[in-house]
């Protein structure tokens, strides 16, 4: 191994707390000791990444409290060191850690809160594209409707929660205390960036969730209506539900322009 390679290898190992011989590379100077000079880098590494997780997961931090959050950061840094050039993606595997770590996995709400916060971040800088407008739909021939394929905007994310993750996040955000984690059943949410670039989230009925899942899978309007009818138990009611969803989605920028099959 070249001198440069070895030095870089030892430096990186030191940052991750795996190498104590890195100080041998450091020149002795007046003032700080070689060990102290190495520690400045090690501390900066930990502080920087902890700060990223604190910023990305503010409400998770409040939910856990400082001590548990610090434990989480410590576990995360040792198990999931950063592999991306962008700090934006550094915390992407936090939900994974919370689901698998013996310390946290018993509390399913933690991974859900973390995932919700990741989706908000994703919505913030997802790709821009022109959104579907009412006028697009008005120009579609009646006979073409069953085959139209709607496409979700890149910022749109669907989330199903077993626990009161979103409600807890909201309560903490408003300075209150979170409700009980158990909410007695699955609840569905949509996270998306609105046309004014603000990130928002909205509760979804079981029916609307099924519709959006069908749209996400690339199924045409006819199938989406069928999925809705299956949930509400009535064809006409189902179609009405889909039309309501389309209206809400158009207002909030959930679909991209020119659905396929509409030309």
């Amino acid at each position: 191994m070249s001198t440069l390679k070895k030095l870089q290898h030892d430096f990186v190992a030191m940052l991750q707390g795996q190498n104590t011989t890195f100080t041998e590379h450091i020149a002795k100077q007046n003032g700080l000791s070689t060990a102290q000079r190495g520690e400045i880098y090690q501390n900066a590494y930990q502080i920087r990444l902890k700060k990223v997780l604190e910023q990305d997961h503010e409400m998770l931090g409040l939910y856990l409290g400082d001590e548990l959050f610090d434990h989480m950061v410590e576990e995360y840094l040792s198990q999931y060191p950063s592999r991306s050039a962008s700090l934006r993606e550094f915390g992407d595997r936090i939900p994974q850690l919370l689901k698998s770590s013996p310390r946290f996995k018993e509390h399913g709400i933690l991974a859900e809160i973390a995932l919700f916060e990741r989706l908000l971040l994703h919505a913030f800088d997802a790709a821009d594209s022109p959104t579907l407008q009412l006028a697009h739909l008005q120009s579609i021939e009646q006979s073409a409707w069953p085959n139209i394929v709607f496409q979700l905007h890149d910022s749109v994310q669907l989330l199903s929660c077993e626990y009161s993750a979103v409600e807890s996040w909201q309560a903490l955000k408003n300075g209150g205390s979170p409700p009980s984690p158990n909410q007695g059943g699955l609840r569905h949410w949509i996270v998306a960036r609105a046309p004014d670039k603000r990130t928002g989230f909205y509760p979804l009925s079981q029916c609307h969730f099924q519709c959006l899942t069908s749209i996400e899978k690339g199924l045409p309007f006819g199938f989406v209506c069928e999925a809705a009818a299956n949930v509400v138990g009535d064809q006409q009611q189902g179609t009405l539900q889909v039309m309501q969803l389309l209206q809400q989605g158009i207002e909030l920028g959930w679909f991209i322009a020119s659905p396929q099959g509409s030309q």
Binding site: H25, Q29, I40, A126, A127
Partner: protein, 281 residues
């Protein structure tokens, strides 16, 4: 690759999210803005929404923090592809990153780790620079980093290293005067000696920033106002040299936009009349 300093366009500011709206609302007297390249590797959303409006009114330059040009791992072409795509979209006046390494293999430290100042590093950096510049089809300007340690193996001073790298590759530097001051304090050398060693033909841009002083050492935090010593170094530099594009760099603990503008005006005020951009327009 023809590497000469970019033309003098004046005094710039680091473009940060918290100032987006004020910049658009007030159209301040700033000659150009510098963006952090990696913040625009994302596809859309707020950062791009604002940048596309600001870049219609001001020239933009790009400054990266993650290229890790000094790394001994394979060149990260995936990173370079994203950078190139962003360059095409932004159309910046020039592009810079740091003379350091920050990643090794898959691991990314997100820090600017110093290189040893050796013949081996000179060879390595010369080679890397040529690969990167060929790929980007444009010069890459390199910034000197702050450091808290020096290496046993180093064979020359940081400034001798920079001067030699320039001689071999004609590469340009973004001289961060604060970083020079921070390293000078941490390693007990005279900052002026560093600055004097860098030839005119090698300086593309100046950064002025603040740091945190812990007495025994200083940490380059970029979260404080620029200190008197750094202002003095800049003033001497400006008196002695041809105009260089100069920028106020603040990365944290953001003050009001008015305060940042006051620092920009202070820099303008310290530079001699020959640094007025109109003479070079």
């Amino acid at each position: 690759m023809k590497n000469t300093p970019p033309p003098f366009v004046g005094f710039g500011l680091g473009l940060r999210t918290c100032y987006f709206e004020e910049i658009l609302d007030t159209e301040p007297n700033v000659d150009w803005f510098e963006i952090i390249s990696e913040n625009y590797f994302v596809s859309g959303g707020k950062p791009w929404h604002y940048l596309s409006q600001i870049k219609e009114r001001y020239p933009i330059v790009m400054h990266g923090v993650s290229m890790s040009i000094g790394s001994t791992s394979d060149v990260n072409f995936d990173y370079l592809a994203k950078l190139k795509k962003t360059i095409e979209r932004v159309q910046p006046l020039w592009v810079s990153d740091h003379l350091c390494f920050s990643s090794l293999g898959e691991f990314n430290s997100h820090d600017l780790l110093p290189m040893p100042y050796t013949e081996e590093s000179l060879d390595h950096l010369s080679q890397r620079l040529s690969i990167v510049q060929d790929y980007l089809q444009r010069p890459l300007i390199l910034e000197n980093v702050s450091s808290y340690l020096t290496y046993e193996v180093s064979e020359m001073s940081e400034w001798a290293f920079l001067a030699e790298l320039h001689k071999r590759t004609q590469c340009q530097f973004l001289l961060d005067i604060n970083n020079i001051y921070v390293s000078a304090r941490n390693h007990d050398f005279a900052p002026q000696e560093f600055i004097d060693a860098i030839p005119e033909s090698a300086i593309a841009q100046i950064h002025l920033a603040g740091h945190s002083d812990f007495g025994s050492h200083i940490i380059d935090t970029h979260d404080q106002p620029i200190c008197d010593e750094v202002w003095q170094l800049f003033e001497q530099f400006a008196k002695a040299r041809m105009p260089v594009n100069t920028m106020i760099e603040r990365d944290d603990n953001f003050p009001s936009f008015k305060e940042i503008m006051a620092e920009l005006e202070q820099a303008r005020g310290l530079a001699p009349a020959s640094w007025s951009k109109h003479e070079y327009a």
